[in-house]
């Protein structure tokens, strides 16, 4: 019998907790990687929604890509009312999407840090007393800034700062179409203590099949197989007993 039990955060994704000993280790940084349209944003947002509704854990959604209006509309299809959570103080959405009319950055010198982004996020964490934080997606930062070395180091610091408050942090990362890595940074895997990969692979000429893989999860005996996953009317669901037909 294990003497020490890691405190786990329920993922809010039916079937996923069973693959990872009951949930994400609390206070860890977890990377959700996958190609376009594999369900990263839905999974991450569902983590916040179910966290607030089922486990009474407030959350912060930092959106660097999709405008909040569209996220809310999409999640409503799954019966997840993000507006309501915001009104109840259980969710804070930080709109840092490119659609906003902000000053145009014309030049970058390799002498900067991400303390602006950090201050913004920490402010929202305090505001709702968040226990769950999502940044969707860190890939945007790679397009926004040229200095990769600085970005790497600053991302580490940012994640460490967020999780030092006790928050469990989910990062999403988009894997470019022809890529074999985990994202545009080639550091994504090191950044996080857990990595989950989503797939939507072609299994025949006429069909695709969604699946999910727990690539690593610190301190956890996790499944080493690729499991079936579906996007249903209630959101994402994983079938722990079902091994993906594509593999």
């Amino acid at each position: 019998m294990s003497q020490y039990q890691i405190d786990r955060v329920k993922t809010g994704i039916p079937g996923l907790d069973e693959l990872i000993e009951g949930g994400f280790p609390r206070g860890d940084t977890i990377l959700i990687a996958g190609k376009a349209g594999t369900g990263k944003s839905i999974l991450a947002t569902q983590f916040l929604y179910r966290g607030a509704v089922d486990y009474n854990e407030p959350g912060v959604l930092v959106t660097l890509e999709e405008p909040p209006r569209l996220i809310k509309r999409n999640m409503m299809r799954f019966g997840m009312d993000l507006d309501k959570l915001e009104r109840e103080g259980m969710l804070s959405i930080v709109d840092l999407s490119p659609a906003r009319d902000t000053p145009l950055n014309i030049s970058e010198y390799p002498s900067f840090d991400l303390s602006g982004l950090e201050a913004i996020i920490m402010h929202h964490i305090k505001k709702v007393n968040a226990q769950r934080v999502v940044i969707d997606t860190i890939s945007i930062l790679a397009y926004k800034f040229k200095a990769r070395d600085i970005l790497r180091e600053e991302l580490f610091k940012l994640c460490a700062h967020i999780t030092s408050t006790g928050c469990t942090l989910l990062l999403t990362s988009e894997i470019p179409a022809q890529d074999t890595g985990l994202g545009v940074f080639d550091i994504e895997a090191f950044l996080a203590s857990g990595v989950i990969v989503l797939y939507n692979e072609k299994i025949s000429d006429t069909s695709r099949s969604r699946s999910i893989e727990v690539l690593k999860l610190r301190g956890s005996k996790h499944s080493s197989r690729i499991h079936s996953m579906r996007i249903t009317d209630e959101g994402i669901r994983v079938w722990p007993g079902e091994i993906s037909p594509g593999t």
Binding site: E108, Y109, L114, G116
Partner: protein, 107 residues
């Protein structure tokens, strides 16, 4: 140079600042490059004639809403006339932004 502390009300300045070019400087408590960037900025503005500018300094550690409002992730950052620059700038880029903002207001 009209220097406005972001914590006080910037509209409270007794003189008319409407014809001045607004320069926003973003810093934080932890930002190691910010002091040098602010020096470069002030020196460059001095060369132009400091009374042409209204400089507003935001410390995002105290005022995170301002970073969010302007979408400022990285510090130091300077905004002039709808353009921003990240890091310790060269004086030339600040001059470029100033000239750009002047053209912008004339049209």
């Amino acid at each position: 140079m009209t220097d406005t502390d972001a914590d006080s009300n910037s509209d409270d300045v007794g003189e008319d600042t409407s014809d001045k070019i607004e320069v926003l400087f973003f810093k934080s408590d932890t930002c190691a490059f910010c002091p040098r960037a602010e020096e470069v900025l002030r020196e460059t503005l001095e060369e132009f004639g400091a009374d042409m500018f209204k400089v507003i300094v935001y410390n995002v550690s105290e005022d995170p809403e301002k970073a969010e409002e302007y979408g400022i992730f990285a510090l130091p950052a300077i905004i002039i006339g709808g353009m921003s620059v990240t890091g310790i700038p060269e004086p030339e880029i600040i001059m470029k932004m100033i000239l750009g903002s002047k053209l912008g207001t004339r049209s």
